[in-house]
């Protein structure tokens, strides 16, 4: 799920940037530093939408750098256990398949794929029901439920399932198979 939250960060700025454009420099540096990063607590920072407040700067002894506390609003993406979302399949193998929901990778093991779906290793590997009506392959859109997340310093990795009611391949926007 995407969220719009307010975060805080201490920014260090080199003295050469001091001047009439100090604020712009600070905001540009904030965007460069923060956007695209990931923390276990808040998830992936997708985009900064506004800078709420820049506090008083504090000169650091010895270096001349100044530290500003900056409060900013941003769009973050964070997957939660138990959340149901849609994702695009990126890879299929006999262990299961990988899907992507925005920046997050989700793995669905073959134990968590309905039992009537079998792995087929044709030229495009896929999971297919015995009657061939439902097929999961690369670029399929699936609706899945997240059952676990592992959080690294720079990445969030999730485990999902499609073995539940109303989960699985989406044929048509709004309808799950």
């Amino acid at each position: 799920m995407f969220f719009h939250i307010t975060l805080e960060r201490n920014m260090q700025l080199h003295p050469r940037h001091f001047g009439p454009h100090l604020r712009d420099k600070l905001v540009a540096k904030l965007m460069k530093d923060v956007e695209g990063t990931c923390s276990g607590r808040h998830g992936f920072v997708v985009a900064i939408t506004s800078v709420e407040d820049i506090g008083k700067g504090l000169i650091r002894e010895g270096t001349g750098f100044v530290t500003f506390p900056v409060k900013y609003q941003c769009v973050v993406f964070r997957p939660f256990k138990g959340e149901i979302l849609e994702a695009v399949v990126t890879m299929v193998n006999k262990m299961g398949f990988f899907a992507e929901a925005g920046p997050v990778q989700i793995f669905v093991s073959n134990h968590l794929i309905p039992d009537d779906m079998e792995f087929q290793s044709e030229d495009v590997s896929n999971y297919t029901t015995s009657d061939g009506s439902v097929k999961i392959q690369k670029d399929s859109e699936v609706r899945l439920k997240i059952i676990g997340t592992r959080v690294d310093a720079t990445e969030i990795f999730s485990i999902g399932t499609i073995k539940d009611d109303f989960l699985g391949v989406i044929n048509d926007p709004g309808a799950a198979s």
Binding site: M1, F2, E83, I84, E86, P103
Partner: protein, 201 residues
């Protein structure tokens, strides 16, 4: 050593957590005094628990259990995110589109400035946003917010657009949790309104 007992309504879901905290207190420490708190809101309880954790040095066990308890189906997503504004995919698409425009105006070559996270998110929301124009997005939020839904529930419904009441409850089990007086009829009306917007968009 201090330890607290928190009394919740019988059967409420925080009882379970309370039990666990009490047990861990009893197991590891002698108990000098008990606080009795009547709380019906989990947020208040969590704050209290954190205070207790600080004064008792139980911090590690408390923060760990807070993570273990995460379950979006029961709306346990942490206080911070519960209070935060959730965004539907279609809203994120609007925001990121505008952002991309801004960047394109600022420089001729916007592609090398984009982080991978931004790009992937942008592709994702473009692919999965149900409503394309801004007015429709506004209306969707308005319809959903009439029903006293939590932000998170609102966005799950807006993202997945379930067609039947049964499907909606499967997607958002917390709709039918205890203490919620949301009738099937109300859910059905809401879903109908949503599909109408989709049709007339």
């Amino acid at each position: 050593m201090r330890c607290g007992v928190v009394a919740t309504r019988p059967g409420s879901r925080s009882c379970e957590i309370v039990d666990r905290v009490i047990k861990s207190c009893l197991a590891s420490f002698d108990v000098d005094s008990f606080f009795l708190y009547l709380l019906d809101r989990k947020s208040g309880f969590l704050r209290r628990r954190r205070e207790l954790a600080h004064c008792d040095g139980l911090e590690s066990s408390a923060t760990m259990s807070a993570d273990e308890d995460e379950n979006a189906a029961e709306l346990k997503i942490g206080e911070e995110f519960l209070k935060a504004k959730c965004l539907m995919n279609c809203e994120v698409a609007l925001i990121l589109d505008r952002r991309l425009e801004q960047l394109q105006q600022m420089s001729d070559d916007p592609t090398n400035q984009m982080s991978q996270v931004f790009e992937k998110s942008h592709q994702y929301v473009k692919r999965f946003s149900r409503y394309k124009n801004q007015d429709a997005v506004k209306q969707v939020r308005e319809i959903l917010s009439r029903n006293k839904l939590a932000e998170f529930e609102l966005c799950v419904l807006g993202n997945l657009c379930p067609e039947t009441v049964e499907e909606a409850i499967a997607m958002v089990p917390s709709l039918k949790s205890k203490g919620r007086a949301l009738e099937d009829d109300a859910i059905e009306k809401m879903l109908n309104d949503l599909s109408l917007i989709k049709k007339f968009e």
